[in-house]
């Protein structure tokens, strides 16, 4: 599903050259639920941005779904993001002016889906996170956990094969976080590959694999026994 070979990412400023990822190699198989852990500044988010085609890299090779995405144009990268990748962010990143229906609608708009199909898919996605009845509400009228569920609905509405989550429970209390994790497990069980960055060691054990990053390199890659069983 995702294969990175010898990826390097260097951030250059006038004074400093920072190696965010160094000879970074990783493979994620279809259907896996992988957690990424590591201390702050170790390169977790940089990895996630590169994996989501939001950031370019200095050298190396990145194969997504068997396709080399290293040299895609802006237009092609946007198309891949829209069709294959779903994003969930720590701070939800919902658009405050748009109601829930319109927030979930955004990826479908860029895909050019017809209005009737969009409505069906949006309502199905909102229903799957238990918020269909509130489709006309604005994000500010929801709790944090509900907002994250809307963000998940938005990520799923395009039926991506690959979900990238950047600390999706970081802004939630433990009860709400548990609910979100249960939802992610259901999504994974339905066949969507998930890569989730987290600081929380307890969440890292709930995935199939946990990859620990340190100084821009994979330091450990452990299969979680509980999940594997």
């Amino acid at each position: 599903m995702l294969q990175m070979n010898q990826i390097n990412k260097v951030f250059l400023t006038e004074m400093v050259e920072t190696h965010a990822l160094k000879d970074f190699s990783l493979q994620v198989l279809e259907g896996e639920f992988v957690t990424i852990t590591g201390p702050s500044g170790c390169g977790k988010t940089t990895f996630l941005n590169i994996a989501g085609l939001l950031e370019t890299f200095s050298n190396g090779q990145y194969l997504l779904d068997g396709e080399d995405v290293s040299r895609l144009s802006d237009f092609q990268r946007a198309k891949v993001r829209n069709e294959k990748i779903g994003f969930i962010f720590q701070s939800f990143n919902l658009m405050p002016d748009l109601n829930l229906f319109d927030n979930v609608d955004v990826p479908l708009r860029y895909r050019g889906v017809r209005a009737a199909d969009r409505r069906t898919r949006i309502e199905k996605a909102l229903d799957s996170v238990g918020l269909l009845s509130r489709k006309n509400h604005l994000p500010s009228q929801l709790s944090g956990g509900q907002q994250q569920r809307v963000a998940i609905a938005r990520a799923l509405v395009g039926e991506p094969r690959f979900l990238l989550a950047d600390e999706p429970t970081g802004n939630l209390d433990s009860n709400t976080a548990t609910g979100v994790m249960e939802l992610l497990h259901e999504i994974n069980a339905a066949g969507t590959t998930i890569v989730m960055v987290t600081h929380d060691p307890s969440l890292a054990t709930q995935s199939h694999r946990n990859i620990h990053i340190l100084d821009g390199q994979v330091k450990s890659d452990n299969i979680n026994q509980v999940q594997a069983a």
Binding site: K79, P107, Y110
Partner: protein
């Protein structure tokens, strides 16, 4: 997607109402002020009789004295030439005309006598220039030839004398002579007043019209320009008529290319004959001008409008520069949203279009408000100039309104190109973590 982007633009306006309103205000002021000047130029430089302007011709001859330094051939004709042309070109609609000032003695005792600005003109004048009548009509050529005492009143003068009633057949006393009213004009305010551009080209039309032959026959007090380049003998009115003094406007209607060519030949031959007789010692390049050529030759559009245009353009530029800054602030403030949209599948091209439309919506709102600013500005100018020139034409019509809104939209989009380009080139990754 277009309607979707329009909706997003309106939502964005609502999100930052103060910033957005500042932009709208800047655009409205800039475009509104520009359109006030544009409207002035549009009409002052416009064609006052578009359906006939290429068929109506003013005649000019090679008047002047080469010995007089910097003498410009005057644009009017002498009495000798005007009467000669009236006789020789009777086959075409043609008119000699000149202004006069005289005293009107109202019927009854309610009004005291007052001065009126009048015009002596040939009978063809009214049909040639499509002058509208609300009552009656002008007069015929026989009235010209016999110096018949008939008069056409302007709407305003008829209102003053007869309370706006149909006064055809009524008698009025002008210059001590009894006149019979043959017609009353309808609303007519050509701008510029193309048939006589010798004084103020934008002044109101004359209040009374009588046969030109009467102005001469009754030696009425002339008004307007008189240019003489040769001393004349004696002080009599006849001596003045025989003198080299130009004071008459002469127009002829020539409807086909053949007529125009034949008439030009006639005019050129006439000038050649006069030169052989020792007259017309100057040499001019052109003797026949259609309406628009005549307006351009006489530089009817005042220089002040060009200065005002430059000032209005500068004001518009300042307002647009201000808008660039405000748009930059607005669009860079949307970096997080742009980052999210990119993550969800938007490419930079579609984001660029989205924000171009957003700038266009701001421009459109600014343009609509600018229409109000322009209307207000024109009203202000009307108040200032109402006594000096005809101001009826100073209004926003559909064309001007369309141009105003289009100008606002296009100029706001142009002002938005750099801010939009900056906003769409943000690194999405750097804005997703921090929103």
């Amino acid at each position: 997607m277009f309607l979707y982007y329009i909706r997003l633009s309106l939502l964005s306006y609502k999100r930052n109402p103060i910033l957005s309103s500042l932009m709208v205000l800047a655009i409205a002021i800039g475009v509104g002020a520009y359109m006030v000047i544009f409207t002035l130029n549009y009409y002052m430089g416009g064609d006052p009789i578009p359906h006939k302007s290429s068929q109506l011709y003013h005649v000019q001859f090679d008047y002047g004295d080469p010995a007089i330094a910097d003498f410009e051939p005057p644009p009017q004709l002498t009495y000798i030439d005007a009467t000669a042309l009236l006789r020789a070109t009777a086959g075409h609609p043609r008119t000699a005309s000149s202004k006069f000032v005289s005293v009107m003695e109202p019927p009854g005792d309610e009004l005291r006598p007052f001065y009126v600005n009048g015009r002596g003109n040939s009978s063809d004048f009214f049909a040639m220039f499509d002058v509208p009548f609300q009552y009656g009509a002008g007069w015929d050529r026989r009235a010209d030839d016999t110096q018949q005492q008939v008069i056409v009143l302007s709407d305003e003068l008829n209102e003053r004398l007869f309370g706006g009633a149909d006064s055809v057949g009524q008698n009025v006393v002008l210059d001590g002579l009894n006149f019979t009213v043959s017609g009353v004009l309808g609303a007519w305010s050509p701008a510029p007043k193309f048939y006589d551009v010798n004084n103020n080209s934008f002044e109101p039309i004359e209040e009374a019209y009588i046969p030109w032959s009467l102005v001469v026959g009754q030696e009425m007090q002339r008004a307007g320009n008189t240019n003489c380049w040769k001393a004349f003998e004696g002080n009599s009115f006849q001596a003045f008529l025989n003198a080299e003094c130009a004071w008459i406007q002469f127009w002829v209607e020539l409807n086909t290319a053949d007529e125009q060519a034949q008439y030009l030949d006639f005019i050129n031959n006439y000038a050649a004959e006069q030169k052989q007789l020792g007259r017309m010692p100057m040499q001019i390049e052109k003797r026949l001008y259609d309406v628009n050529e005549w307006l351009a030759y006489n530089e009817v559009q005042p220089d002040e409008t060009r200065i005002l245009t430059a000032l209005a353009t500068m004001l518009l530029a300042v307002c647009l520069l201000n808008t660039v800054g405000l748009l930059l602030s607005k669009f860079l403030g949307k970096s997080s949203e742009i980052g999210v949209r990119m993550a969800l599948g938007a490419n930079r091209g579609s984001l660029f279009i989205q924000h171009v439309i957003e700038a266009g919506v701001i421009g459109a709102i600014g343009g609509i408000l600018g229409l109000g600013v322009a209307a207000l500005g024109l009203e202000g100018i009307k108040v200032l100039l109402d006594d000096l020139i005809v101001t009826d034409w100073m209004q926003l019509n559909l064309t001007v309104a369309f141009i105003t809104v289009a100008l606002a939209i296009v100029s706001t989009i142009v002002a938005g190109i750099y801010p939009i380009w900056r906003a769409c080139n943000v690194n999405p990754a750097s804005h997703l973590k921090t929103q």
